[in-house]
């Protein structure tokens, strides 16, 4: 697919915004200052003003309803800059879940708040080392939820928790107030310096959705597709920084970019990055159009993006040599995010497994 004019304009303006207000140096500042919120509040405010928090919120709730391709374009630039925002948790996972499955009342309460930037939302799905959304131990029974969650992105700052639980037959999302009695939240800082949380629910009051099962599935699919775009953007950035280094670093009296073995590896990396970008956009578009193979495309895109981002991070560090190993230099941040983003909502193996099942083998 190619971007239409509107999408192209969005991409250009988001690219400027992220480079201006959310560059990698902000991630470093937040880390070094041990920021309590753990996300870039001025940037988030700027995104609110630009309407980006409402990119998936329907217009009747104050959003701009730009579709997943739009959200993916934002995510690409987030990936390029490693901008630290609750965009994925709130504007993608939260908005998708609520607009898909919430009751009219729930929507009216929360969707405008997301668009206006007055509420942060966090999705609590994972319970163990790996993403296994189909075998949940968290139970919903008689209006109450009990269970332990981890990797709840932005969970310690959220105003609303969407908790995946099973009522014995279906897995669905339930609304939980983070301040409700029985909720214990522990902020966990991950290797990529992003926020996640471990949250325990001990017989906590929870509100069902109109269709919480659909909400869960839609949020996961949207999240994976948008993450694919973020990782594609990250990969592109690492590739370009590395290519630049190949053109400027001298060793053995010549630019290291003249070494054929590195040239071929750089070319192979560029190809992987370019394919990943194309696939991510195509998968987002397939979701927007509810294409028959949208699920397969999303699993392919997320899996491919996870592998490409990791490869880019690995090659990026290796080709930078010693300097790439230092914390002072930025490339390591990308490697860390590549792995954390690759893991989130299902790693490459998880995606391959689902992709194969959809393919009938």
């Amino acid at each position: 697919m190619r971007l239409n004019d509107e999408q192209q304009m969005l991409q250009d303006s988001v690219a400027r915004l992220m480079a201006d207000k959310g560059p990698v140096s902000r991630l470093r500042e937040l880390r070094d200052s041990r920021d309590e919120k753990g996300y870039d509040q001025p940037l988030w405010q700027a995104m609110v003003e630009a309407g980006l928090t409402g990119i998936l919120v329907p217009e009747e709730h104050g959003g701009i309803a730009f579709g997943l391709v739009g959200a993916g374009l934002v995510a690409q630039e987030i990936g390029r800059n490693l901008s630290v925002t609750p965009f994925l948790s709130t504007a993608v996972l939260g908005a998708t879940a609520l607009s898909t499955g919430a009751t009219a009342e729930q929507q009216s309460k929360w969707l405008p708040a997301i668009a206006e930037g007055t509420a942060l939302v966090a999705l609590a799905v994972d319970e163990g080392a790996k993403h296994r959304p189909d075998s949940l131990n968290t139970r919903y029974e008689g209006g109450k939820i009990s269970g332990d969650k981890l990797l709840v992105l932005d969970g310690h700052v959220a105003d609303l928790l969407l908790v995946a639980a099973t009522d014995g037959s279906d897995s669905a999302l339930y609304l939980v107030d983070p301040k409700a009695s029985g909720v214990t939240i522990e902020r966990t800082i991950m290797a990529d310096n992003r926020n996640a949380a471990r949250i325990q629910f001990d017989n906590v009051e929870a509100e069902p959705m109109a269709d919480g099962a659909a909400a869960l599935q839609a949020a996961l699919r949207a999240g994976r597709a948008v993450l694919a775009a973020e990782l594609a953007g990250l990969s592109r950035e690492v590739f370009e920084r590395t290519l630049g280094y190949l053109k400027e670093r001298k060793q053995f009296g010549r630019l290291i970019g003249t070494f054929q073995a590195l040239q071929h590896r750089a070319a192979q990396l560029m190809i992987d990055v370019t394919m990943t970008e194309a696939l991510a956009l195509q998968a987002l578009d397939a979701c927007d159009n509810n294409a028959d193979d949208a699920d397969a495309q999303v699993f392919a895109a997320k899996g491919k993006a996870a592998r490409t981002a990791l490869l880019a991070g690995q090659e990026g560090v290796q080709m930078h040599g010693g300097i790439g190993m230092t914390d002072e230099f930025d490339i390591g941040f990308f490697l860390k995010r590549a792995r954390a983003g690759g893991e989130t909502l299902g790693d490459a193996n998880f995606c391959a497994d689902r992709f194969a099942t959809l393919g009938g083998y």
């Binding site: 697919m1 054929q260 070319a267 560029m270 990943t276 956009l281 397969a296 393919g359 083998y361």
Partner: protein, 394 residues
């Protein structure tokens, strides 16, 4: 009804009336392809009739100008014709290197005289062309070719040897790179010339491949007389034509496997041979490998679609064709390796009816040539690193 809608309706009607039933059957293998040419033996009357009827409409080369025997269709119309043919499974009426390679070269670089002489017989399926590029000592380094065309006043005298001339033993004419100025630097002094394979001094010998097939030949030129006006484009500027065609050729690679795997999904095929457990391939490593391959293939198709969309928007493909050539062929090799993994002993039988004489192993072996012919993977990566990435030479 818009013009295009009307064109579609008429095309559908015409195809319905003119495409013989037999030509609407799926192609079973290379033996069903109609190559055309003087030596061509039609497989059936239907094949001949279909070729002739399409040629009459100019639809053997739908987008070539009508004055040269083509259909004069716009890209949109050509796309509709293609869709309508696919709709009824209509086979390609005739095709060979004249359509794929020489035609585009003549349309871009040829004189009006050359176009008038050569394009109509191609469109009518009367002349089958082959390509004389590679030489034994000029493989990847194509421009170092040694075949010489000496200027003898009213003609050239060509001496030398070509290799990898596809189906040269079955072709009528050859388009050929020859050195017309031995003193010029490597990429200069090469010309792109055309001559009849029946010209005295031309001999050709098929090369047997490891796959057992012989689609290529060695071709020898011993004092072959070639007319002076048989040069396409400028004298000594044949490299421009060759480069254009190489890029054009690479654009045609869409990464879809040919032969047995065409249109067949590898996962379910593997399940037939390897078996399943709880609905998943019994060989779990193979399952992971196939899923990774198919993921990469989906990514590749997304890239191809993007490049095509950009090309249609006039942004040009350029060096990206090297990306497609490289990745498409490597993907294809991986696919055949996994096919062989899946088929195990059954894929390895060489002389047996069960495997149609070793078709599986043969196609697997043949795929190894994909990353060599038309520019090796190494050459493609070199082009990408220089022309796309802008990395400097040593």
């Amino acid at each position: 009804m818009s013009d295009l809608e009307q064109f579609r309706a008429e095309t559908r009607e015409w195809l319905q009336a003119n495409c013989p039933e037999e030509m609407r059957q799926p192609v079973r293998g290379p033996e069903d392809h109609c190559w055309g040419g003087r030596k061509w033996q039609f497989q059936s009357d239907a094949q001949r009739v279909w070729m002739e009827r399409m040629a009459e409409k100019g639809w053997t080369a739908p987008q070539w100008p009508q004055e040269y025997g083509g259909g004069g269709l716009t890209p949109e119309q050509a796309a509709i014709l293609d869709e309508e043919m696919k709709r009824i499974n209509a086979r390609t009426p005739v095709s060979n290197f004249g359509f794929w390679m020489l035609g585009p070269a003549l349309l871009k670089f040829g004189s009006d005289e050359l176009k008038r002489k050569h394009l109509p017989p191609i469109c009518r399926g009367e002349i089958r062309w082959c390509q004389g590029y590679s030489e034994p000592n000029a493989g990847s380094d194509l421009a170092s070719l040694q075949t010489r065309a000496e200027d003898k006043g009213d003609h050239f005298l060509v001496n030398g040897q070509k290799i990898w001339t596809s189906y040269a033993d079955k072709a009528d004419w050859i388009f050929c790179l020859v050195r017309t100025d031995p003193n010029a630097t490597k990429h200069n002094g090469i010309s792109f010339v055309l001559f009849d394979m029946e010209t005295p001094g031309v001999t050709t010998r098929p090369i047997e491949l490891i796959s057992g097939e012989s689609p290529f030949c060695e071709t020898f030129f011993d004092d072959v007389k070639v007319e002076k006006d048989a040069v396409v484009g400028e004298l000594n500027r044949g490299w421009d034509v060759a480069k254009y065609l190489l890029t054009h050729e690479r654009n045609n690679i869409g990464g879809e496997p040919p032969g047995y795997l065409k249109g067949r999904a590898l996962g379910p095929l593997a399940a037939e041979h390897v078996g399943t457990e709880n609905g998943k391939l019994a060989d779990s490593a193979l399952r992971a490998d196939i899923a990774r391959l198919e993921t990469d293939h989906m990514a590749f198709r997304a890239l191809v679609a993007k490049v095509r969309a950009e090309a249609e928007a006039g942004e040009g493909v350029g060096a990206l064709s090297a990306v497609l050539k490289y990745y498409g062929t490597e993907l294809n090799k991986r696919r055949y390796e996994l096919m062989m993994d899946a088929m195990g002993a059954e894929g390895l039988e060489w002389e047996s009816e069960r495997t149609q004489g070793g078709m599986f192993a043969s196609e697997w072996l043949r795929s190894k040539g994909n990353s060599i012919e038309g520019g090796t993977s190494e050459v493609m990566l070199g082009i990408v690193s220089k022309r796309v990435l802008g990395l400097p030479d040593a």
